[in-house]
């Protein structure tokens, strides 16, 4: 028989008291309620996708009249979502690579190499964490235009290489690595870059996975800069389209709900693949940040 482990405040022997036992039952009830609250909206929006415009605006039932998948297929084809998915995929892939390489190297510099004067950079990076990214979106967009990078994925990819939070996550992880291993490799004659790729990187799988998942999710969800850069080009991503729908009033309300469903499917798939890493690793990393 598997022994049930109590990790919380309530210990096994407490459960002998009826009041505590009832309280424990109540805890389970509240947890179930939290699950329902978290999941119900997703179920609802999927159900709403089966409704047509008139039904969506007038029906007083959560359930649609018919469960035909045709409306989803029509919306998918009419809006050409396949192309947007591919665009999002390209955008996400490049963003993740940039997020890992550039932030990783900067974090390596700040966490392990610590060259003379690194403290200033560290302060600047930490302060950047406090600045909402949208604050300077106007001048940023102008810079991108000046360099002729408009209508290209490149600025979106590179923008993920300049993420203060990822830098700090990397930095803190690297700081926690045992110095002795790194010093040993330096004595063996490895250069700083060799040390990074031969010693540090193989040890950094957990942090890389976490930053990668964060970056995938953020790149998929991002829409303000992508909207300014990609709007009107054949490179529009799923979220750019969704933002256009919500501001430019070109689609009906029912189609909008189906677009919402489409925009949520990849993150949900990602979530179920990586749920262990997300719910365990990310928090143990997040706790330091």
């Amino acid at each position: 028989m598997k022994k049930i482990q109590h990790t919380g405040v309530i210990r096994e022997y407490d459960l002998h008291a009826p009041a505590v036992k009832a309280g424990y039952g109540f805890v389970i009830f509240l947890c179930c309620l939290a699950v329902i609250v978290a999941v119900f909206p997703l179920i609802w929006v999927t159900l709403a996708g089966f409704k047509d415009l008139k039904e969506f605006l007038s029906s007083t039932s959560i359930f649609p009249k018919s469960f035909s998948l045709e409306p989803f297929a029509v919306t998918w084809n009419q809006l050409g979502i396949t192309k947007n998915y591919l665009n999002s995929l390209i955008s996400v892939a490049g963003s993740v690579i940039c997020a890992l390489i550039f932030n990783g190297l900067l974090g390596y510099g700040l966490g392990i190499l610590k060259p003379k004067g690194y403290g200033v950079v560290k302060k600047l990076v930490t302060l950047s964490l406090l600045m909402p990214a949208t604050i300077s979106i106007v001048p940023l967009f102008m810079n991108i235009q000046k360099l002729g990078l408009g209508s290209s994925f490149l600025p979106l990819w590179l923008s993920f290489g300049a993420n203060a939070m990822y830098v700090i996550l990397f930095m803190q992880f690297f700081e926690s690595l045992p110095r002795s291993i790194i010093e040993a490799s330096r004595i063996d004659g490895c250069s700083q870059l060799q040390t990074f790729f031969r010693i540090v990187l193989p040890l950094s799988k957990p942090i890389c996975v976490v930053v990668a998942i964060f970056a995938i999710n953020a790149a998929w969800s991002d829409f303000l800069l992508p909207y300014l850069v990609l709007r009107g080009t054949p490179k529009e991503t799923v979220m750019v389209r969704l933002f256009k729908f919500s501001t430019e009033q070109t689609v009906n309300e029912d189609t909008m709900m189906r677009s919402v469903v489409f925009s949520m499917i990849p993150p949900i798939i990602l979530f179920f693949i990586f749920q262990k890493q997300l719910t365990e690793n990310s928090v143990s990393v997040g706790i330091k940040g």
């Binding site: 415009l53 009107g232 070109t250 009906n252």
Partner: protein
């Protein structure tokens, strides 16, 4: 040397004359094989457009390819807003052709964000056919022209006849008993709400839409002339006036629609233009202030059968009967070259947007009306933006062929225009969008808080907009 130039220019103009005459005779042939450039088309239909509409534009592109084989057309659907246009114009990514509403050309021209097409218009011989009101709208102080009208609209009211029927507001002839005055609007709306449980009137009171519709109501309450919402004083300063008794009365009317008659849709403050059409089109509301150019919205887009739809004139107010007349124009990227301008005009000519009728254009119009009819949108006469009687009547004849509606449901609207029983008025002259925004905030306050202090709210909006006017023009 001088004579040589004269010679060359004479020959050139001769060539041009021949070329244009030739082009007219044989629209199918090459008009100008030498014109080489690329233009991006912001007026291309969106991905969400119907297949028929897309096919129509593909047809235009084919014609263009035959007449101007070396002009490359790049479709680039663009939904213009002032906010998204400015960075594009600055960054050099604006489409060659785009379609702003009539509120914006003067602002765009004064900020040098649009291209000059005077020469290209002259080349096509249409410079003198502009309605004078449009010249005023699309030219700078030196008479250079930066755009041309696409179509005009007049604000009226859309009706959902299914709800009128349910409420017993139909005559035996199948015509709606519709409100002729704003007072009747409130009363009829109340009947509809009581009989059907649906909203009598949908009022999109979000962002700028609420203020936009409210200006028309305010005019009918007398906010014109001395009591105008904005005017230029003797020193040439722009002044706004929202606290006149007329404007207060108009705002009290809005208050009564919500609190006395209770005929507005529930989420009025978050309803936008498309949302208003959705509610009327799906039978959640019976009336919607909307124009003749958006009749396809409730019908083909939102699913209301054309026989359940009617268009009526804007209801009169205690002080008059005005209807807002506006429209959309074509304007051009600020970095447009002379060649691109000519190519753009040629393209617009193929679309039938210049006052010419040749076989292709007539075919284009027919295709357009046929497409409208096929997707269930009413085919109606368009309000012409050109001063060209021959062109206008020829066009009307084609509309009549494709008419798919009971014109009695529209005749009062069009008669009020031709009969002059309604006065057309264009939007407030300066910074209309900002004025609408300020007034929308007041409307939101008034319809969400019972007993809101109307004069105080209007005073606040007036102060705020006056400061805006001072900043943007008076003290510039």
């Amino acid at each position: 040397m001088n004579r040589m130039i004269q010679c060359v220019s004479l020959m050139l103009s001769l060539c041009l004359l021949l070329a244009s005459a030739g082009g007219f005779a044989a629209a199918e042939g090459v008009v100008d094989g030498d014109l080489t450039c690329t233009i991006t088309l912001g007026n291309w239909p969106p991905d969400t457009a119907s297949a028929a509409e897309k096919a129509l534009f593909e047809g235009y592109r084919d014609t263009m390819a035959r007449q101007y084989p070396n002009v490359t057309l790049v479709p680039d659907y663009y939904s213009y807003t002032l906010s998204n246009y400015v960075p594009m114009a600055k960054g050099g990514t604006a489409p060659t052709i785009f379609q702003p509403p009539f509120t914006d050309p003067q602002l765009l021209i004064s900020q040098h964000l649009v291209g000059d097409v005077t020469e290209a218009l002259e080349k096509f011989g249409v410079l003198d056919k502009f309605s004078p009101s449009y010249v005023e709208m699309l030219a700078d102080e030196n008479g250079r022209i930066y755009g041309l009208p696409r179509d005009g609209y007049v604000l009226g009211m859309h009706l959902n006849l299914a709800l009128f029927r349910e409420a017993g507001l139909m005559t035996e002839d199948g015509l709606p008993m519709y409100p002729k005055t704003l007072q009747e609007l409130a009363e009829y709306g109340q009947i509809i709400r009581e009989k059907t449980g649906k909203a009598g009137l949908v009022f999109p009171a979000s962002e700028t839409y609420g203020g936009w519709l409210f200006t028309n109501i305010a005019w009918n309450f007398g906010c014109v002339g001395e009591s105008a919402l904005e005017y230029q004083d003797e020193d040439g300063r722009w002044v706004c006036n929202f606290t006149s008794p007329e404007c207060v009365a108009a705002m009290e009317y809005m208050r009564d629609l919500r609190w006395k008659y209770d005929i507005l849709n529930v989420d009025a403050t978050t309803t936008d233009w498309a949302g208003a059409h959705s509610l009327l089109g799906t039978g959640e509301a019976a009336m919607n202030f909307a124009a003749d150019d958006s009749v396809d919205q409730p019908t083909s887009n939102k699913g209301l059968p054309v026989e359940d739809f009617a268009l009526i004139p804007f209801p009169a107010g205690p002080a008059g009967r005005y209807a807002l007349a506006g429209g959309t124009c074509y304007m051009f990227a600020p970095d447009i070259t002379a060649d691109q301008a000519v190519a753009a005009m040629a393209y617009l000519k193929i679309l039938g947007k210049l006052p010419f009728l040749d076989d292709d254009i007539i075919a284009g119009m027919r295709a357009d009306y046929a497409a409208k009819r096929d997707r269930g949108a009413p085919v109606l006469p368009a309000i012409s933006a050109w001063n060209d009687a021959e062109y206008n009547s020829a066009k009307q004849a084609i509309v009549d062929e494709y008419c798919n509606v009971d014109m009695r449901l529209y005749s009062d609207f069009f008669d009020s225009l031709s009969g002059g029983t309604i006065s057309l008025k264009s939007e407030e002259p300066v910074f209309a969008q900002q004025l609408y925004r300020e007034l929308t905030a007041v409307i939101q306050r008034v319809i969400t808080r019972e007993g809101a202090d109307i004069v105080k709210a209007l005073q606040k909006a007036q102060d705020s907009f006056q400061e805006y006017l001072d900043d943007e023009i008076n003290d510039y």
